[in-house]
Symmetry: C2
Subunit: 558 residues, 2 copies
C-alpha cells in the first residue's frame, strides 16, 4: 500500500479527543473540520506559561546529509513519538507544516510515511489550516504597499534599486526568480527588478515561527528592513504604518495546529520554513505547546544536522530559551553507501566497504552535535535490503565513535517498530548529560560567526566572501544588527556548499556570495554557492500523478 | 458604532444551529471554527437534486451605477433576506465572498453594513475558508507548469509570445500588471512578457463558480486554452496532463460555505468574481443549495445592472438552468443626485431637479431588466439626509415608468427596516409574471453578441472593435468557440465604457480593445476602454487603519 492508501484506510479520532489526551478541552480548540484544530489565544498563553515552569524533555531529530536514497527523518520522528507513547512515556511530536512546492515538484509531502504518519495527510500536505496562504498574502501585501509607496510620490525616498523585500508564492516556479515589474508607463507602477521566493523561505514565515504573541509579531514586522533611501539609510516596514493590517492577516497563523499520528497521538504541526534557505524548524509556539503538554517532545529540523539542527540550536533555541535534552541522528545504510560512492541502482547489493567510507558523513554530524553540548543517538531507518553484515558494521562504527546505532522500523510497524529507539532516547534524555549551548556567541562579528560555522560545522578551511557581501555585513553592523545570529542558505546535499561534495568534505573554501538582513526575523542570511530561494519544477513533476475523485478523495500524493 | 463594532457586539449562534434551520444536519457540515462551515459532498449532491425538483423563488438584487455616494447593495440584500424571514417567508441569502484587494485598498469588505451584515465579518472579509487562496495557488500552479514546460524542452511547441494564462494574487498590486519573467540565463526559465490579475478576475475563479462537481471542474480545467503553438493552434491545459493536481487543490473550494446574518438567518457565501472584470456573481453551487433550502432566495450580482445582473442572467442562469422570479434594483437618492450632476460635498442639500435628472440612470436599468422578461422593484436605501420631497419624487418617477420604489432601512434596522421591501418582493416573486430569457441567443456570432449588449444594455450607437480583437473573435469562432456567451470587462462607473459618462449615456461608440478566450469557464471576455484586471492601491490605502490586538480582535476593517 502507498502512504496515502495507508492514511486513508486509517480511522482517525476527533481532534477534540486528541486534545483531551493532553489536557486541552474542546472549548480551547478552533476546529478546521473534525480532525484539525488551532489552539485559542487563551490556551496558547496558558501553555506558554506552563512550558516555562514545567517543560517536558525536548528531543531533536536530525539526519545525515540527504541522498536520492532517502532517510525518512519525519517518519522516524513520528515513529519515535508513537514508540515513546507505547513504552508509557507521554509524548507529543512537533513538526513543520508542508510546503506546496515539494508536493507538486519532486520531494512530495511531509507527513511521514508507511505506518508512521500524521493525518489527515492530504489536508496537511495541501492547504491545511491556511497558514502558508496567509503568510504568502501578508508577504505580498507588504510588497504591494512598498511599490504603491514608490508610485504615490515616494515620500520616504526609497531607492527602488535597494528594495530587498521579495514577493513570494508557495510553489516551485523558477520563471519568477528574476523578473522586472512596474512596466507599461506612468500609471502602471515604477519599473524595477524584483524576485519571488518560495513562501517557506520568506521572512514572514520566519517571523511567524519565532513570534509568541501578536504584539511580538507586530514588533518584528515593524523592524523588517525593506530597503534603503537615497541617503543609504535603512527603511523599515514600520515607516509605512501598515503593520496592523499585516498582523491582522496573520492573527490566526501564530496559533499552533493540532492533529494526530496514525496511532492517535497528538502532533503539533505548525510553521514550515525550509532548512536550506530558511531556519528550518517548526514554530516556537508549537514547541512550547508540546513542552507544556508532553513529558517528552519529539521535534524535527529540516535536512541534515549541518542545516536544520544547527539553526534549531543556534537560532530557535537561543531565541526561545529552549534547552534540548537529546538528539537523534537519522541515517539509512543505503544513504551512507551512497555517501561512500555507490550508485543508486546498486544500493540493493551489500557493500560494507562503501558503508564504512560513507560513515564519514554520519561521523561528522555526530561530532557536530556534540559541539552544542548535546548527547546523541543514531537511528538506523531500516530497509529490507539492509544485510546483517551491514547492520553489524554500522553498529560497530557508531560504537567506535562513542555513539550508539539503533534499528528502527516505524515505517513498517509504527510505534511498535520504534520501541528500541524510544527506550534509548528516553534514557538519553533522562540521564541529565545534556548541557546545551549555542555554537557561537552573539558578540562575535557577523563574518566571524559565518567563519566559525564554516570551519566547525561545514569543515571548510576558510571562507571567501564576495567583496560586496563583506561590505554589506559591515553596513549591517554599523546599523546595529551585528549581534544577530546567522542563517546560512546553502545546498542540503553536502555538508559543504557544493552538492557534488558528498561524504565528509574537508580542505575546501566556503564561498559566501551574498548576505541579506532579516531584521524582523532577527537573523542575517548568508547565501553560499548557487543556492536559490525559489526552487524549480522537474521535467516530470509530481503534479502529473495527483488526482481527486467526485467525493474529494485524493490519490497520487506522496 | 462602526460596522465591525456592531458585528463584534452581536452574539452568533453555532453554524450547526443555522444549518438546522434549513434542514442540514451537523454531520453534513465541515466546520471552520464554530461559525463557518462547508457542506459535505454528499449533502451538496442531495441539495443539487432537491433544487432541480423543488426550487425556491430566486430574487436577484442589482443596483444603479455606482457613485462615490454609495448604494449598499449587499446591505439591502442581507436586510431583504432578514426582512423576508421576518414576515414568515423562509429565505436564504446567497452572496459572493470578499476579495482581499478591496479590503486593504479603497472599497473595504463585502459583508453588508450596519444592522444588515453577515458574520463573522472579519473572518469572511479576510481568509474565510481559504477558497480564494486555493484558487490563487491553483491558478499559479498552472502558470508554473506552463513555464516549466517551456523550460524543459517545450514538447508542445508553445509560442511564449501567445501565452494568455496570467498569474494572479488576491491583492491590489499595480506593479504586477506588466512584468517580464524568466530572466537571468539558461537555468532561470524562458524570458517572456507576463501579467498578474487579481485572483477574483481569474478564469479559475469563474470555473469554480460555475462547476457543480469535481468531474465538471476537471472537464473545464482540461478545456482551458493557455496559448498557442508555433502553428497557431490552441493549446489546452489538458495537454499538460496535470488537471488532477489542479482539481486536488480545488477539491474543498467547490463546496459552498454557510454562515449567518446578524439576525441568525442562513447565508451561503461562496465564490467571488468581480463584476467589472469577471462574471460577478456567487457560485452556482451556493445558489443551488440556497434554492434547495429556502422558499425564497436572495442573491446579489456585483456593481450595476449593466454588469452583474446582465452577466448573472446571460451567463450564470443560462449555464445553470436557473429561472429568477424577480429583480430588486437598489438606488439611493444621493447616488441619483450625483448622476444628476451634484458634487459629493453637496449631497446633503435637497435637490429635486438633480434627482429627476439622475433618475435617467435608474430608468435605464429598469428598462434593461425588463428585456430579460423579469419584473423588478426599486429599493431606495434610505439615508437621513433624504428629504420628504425627494422621497415623494422618486416614488412618482418610478410609478411613471411602471415600477415601484420602496424605502428600505436595513442598515439602521435590519430585517425590521426591510419589511416593506420584503412584502413587495414576495408579491412580485409570487405573481408568476416572470418569464426569464437571456438577452441574446448563443447562435449569434460573437461580435454580434457584443453589439447587441452594447446597443441594448449599454445604449451605445455602435461598437468599434480593434482590428486585432475582431481577428481574434474570428479565430475563436473558427476554433469552435463561437457559441460561447460574452463577458464584458468594462468600468463599473458608467453604463458605457467611459467612467466620466454618468447618468444615462447614449449616442456614443462602444470600443472593444481586446478579447480573451475563457474556454474553461465557457465565455469570451471583451475588454472595453481602459479596464484593467489588476487594481492599484490608493495613496492612503485602507490597510493604514486596520489593526489586531493580542486576543486576535480586529479593528479598522470596514
Amino acid at each position: 500500500m502507498t502512504d496515502i492508501e495507508i492514511a486513508q484506510k486509517n480511522k482517525m479520532i476527533p481532534v477534540a479527543d486528541v486534545a483531551a489526551k493532553i489536557g486541552i478541552t474542546a472549548d480551547k480548540l478552533e476546529n478546521y473540520g473534525p480532525y484539525k484544530a488551532k489552539i485559542t489565544f487563551d490556551e496558547l498563553r496558558a501553555l506558554q506559561e506552563k512550558a516555562a515552569s514545567k517543560p517536558g524533555k525536548l528531543i531533536l531529530v536530525t539526519a545525515v546529509t540527504p541522498t536520492p536514497a532517502g532517510e525518512g527523518k519525519s517518519t522516524v520522528s513520528i515513529g519515535l513519538a508513537d514508540g515513546l507513547n507505547k513504552i508509557g512515556k507521554k509524548t507529543v511530536v512537533a513538526l513543520r507544516e508542508p510546503s506546496l512546492g515539494p508536493c507538486f515538484g519532486v520531494k512530495g509531502g511531509a507527513c511521514g510515511g508507511g505506518y508512521a504518519q500524521i493525518v489527515p495527510m492530504e489536508d496537511i500536505n495541501l492547504h491545511f489550516t491556511g497558514d502558508i496562504h496567509a503568510i504568502s498574502i501578508a508577504n505580498n501585501l507588504i510588497a504591494a504597499l512598498i511599490d504603491n509607496h514608490l508610485q504615490q510620490g515616494n515620500e520616504l525616498g526609497i531607492d527602488p534599486r535597494t528594495i530587498s523585500w521579495k514577493r513570494c508564492v508557495d510553489l516551485n516556479d523558477r520563471a519568477l526568480r528574476n523578473i522586472t515589474i512596474g512596466l507599461g508607463g506612468r500609471l502602471q507602477g515604477v519599473p524595477r527588478e524584483d524576485h519571488f521566493s518560495i513562501a517557506v523561505a520568506s521572512e514572514i514565515m520566519a517571523i511567524v515561527c519565532l513570534s509568541r504573541t501578536i504584539s511580538e509579531l507586530k514588533e518584528r514586522i515593524d523592524r523588517i528592513v525593506i530597503g534603503q533611501n537615497y541617503a543609504r539609510e535603512n527603511i523599515t516596514f514600520g515607516q509605512l504604518k501598515c503593520t496592523g493590517a499585516i498582523a491582522a492577516l496573520l492573527k490566526d497563523v501564530i496559533k499552533p495546529n493540532l492533529v494526530q499520528t496514525l496511532e492517535k497521538n497528538p502532533a503539533f504541526v505548525h510553521g514550515g520554513p525550509f532548512a536550506n534557505i530558511a531556519h528550518g524548524c517548526n514554530s516556537v509556539n508549537a514547541t512550547l505547546c508540546a513542552l507544556a503538554t508532553g513529558d517528552y517532545v519529539v521535534t524535527e529540523a529540516g535536512f541534515a544536522a549541518d542545516l536544520g539542527a544547527e539553526k534549531f540550536l543556534d537560532i530557535k533555541c537561543r531565541a526561545a530559551g529552549l534547552k534540548p535534552s537529546a538528539v537523534v541522528i537519522v541515517a539509512t545504510i543505503r544513504a551512507l553507501k551512497m555517501h561512500g560512492g555507490v550508485a543508486k541502482a546498486d544500493l540493493s547489493k551489500p557493500d560494507t566497504a562503501a558503508l564504512e567510507k560513507g560513515f564519514a558523513n554520519l561521523k561528522t554530524h555526530i561530532e557536530n552535535i556534540a559541539k552544542f553540548g548535546l548527547p546523541s543517538v543514531v537511528a538506523i531507518n531500516k530497509f529490507i535490503t539492509d544485510s546483517d553484515e551491514e547492520i553489524a558494521l554500522i553498529e560497530k562504527l557508531c560504537r567506535n565513535v562513542g555513539s550508539q546505532a539503533i534499528l528502527t522500523e516505524g515505517w513498517g510497524n509504527g510505534g511498535e517498530g520504534a520501541k528500541d529507539l524510544a527506550k534509548a532516547v528516553a534514557e538519553l534524555a533522562d540521564n541529565g548529560k545534556a548541557d546545551y549551548h549555542p555554537l557561537y556567541e552573539l558578540d562575535l562579528p557577523l563574518a566571524d560567526k559565518i567563519r566559525k560555522l564554516a570551519k566547525e560545522i561545514y569543515r571548510a578551511d576558510d571562507v571567501e566572501f564576495d567583496s560586496a557581501a563583506l561590505k554589506k555585513l559591515k553596513a549591517f553592523e554599523d546599523a546595529g544588527y551585528g549581534k544577530l545570529p546567522v542563517c546560512v542558505a546553502k545546498t542540503q546535499n553536502s555538508i559543504s556548499h557544493d552538492p557534488k561534495l558528498i561524504g565528509a568534505p574537508s580542505g575546501y573554501t566556503f564561498p559566501v556570495r551574498d548576505v541579506q538582513l532579516y531584521a524582523g526575523a532577527g537573523f542575517v542570511v548568508a547565501l553560499a554557492g548557487d543556492i536559490m530561494t525559489m526552487p524549480g519544477l522537474p521535467k516530470a513533476p509530481a503534479a502529473l500523478d495527483i488526482d481527486v475523485d467526485d467525493n474529494g478523495v485524493i490519490s497520487g500524493l506522496f
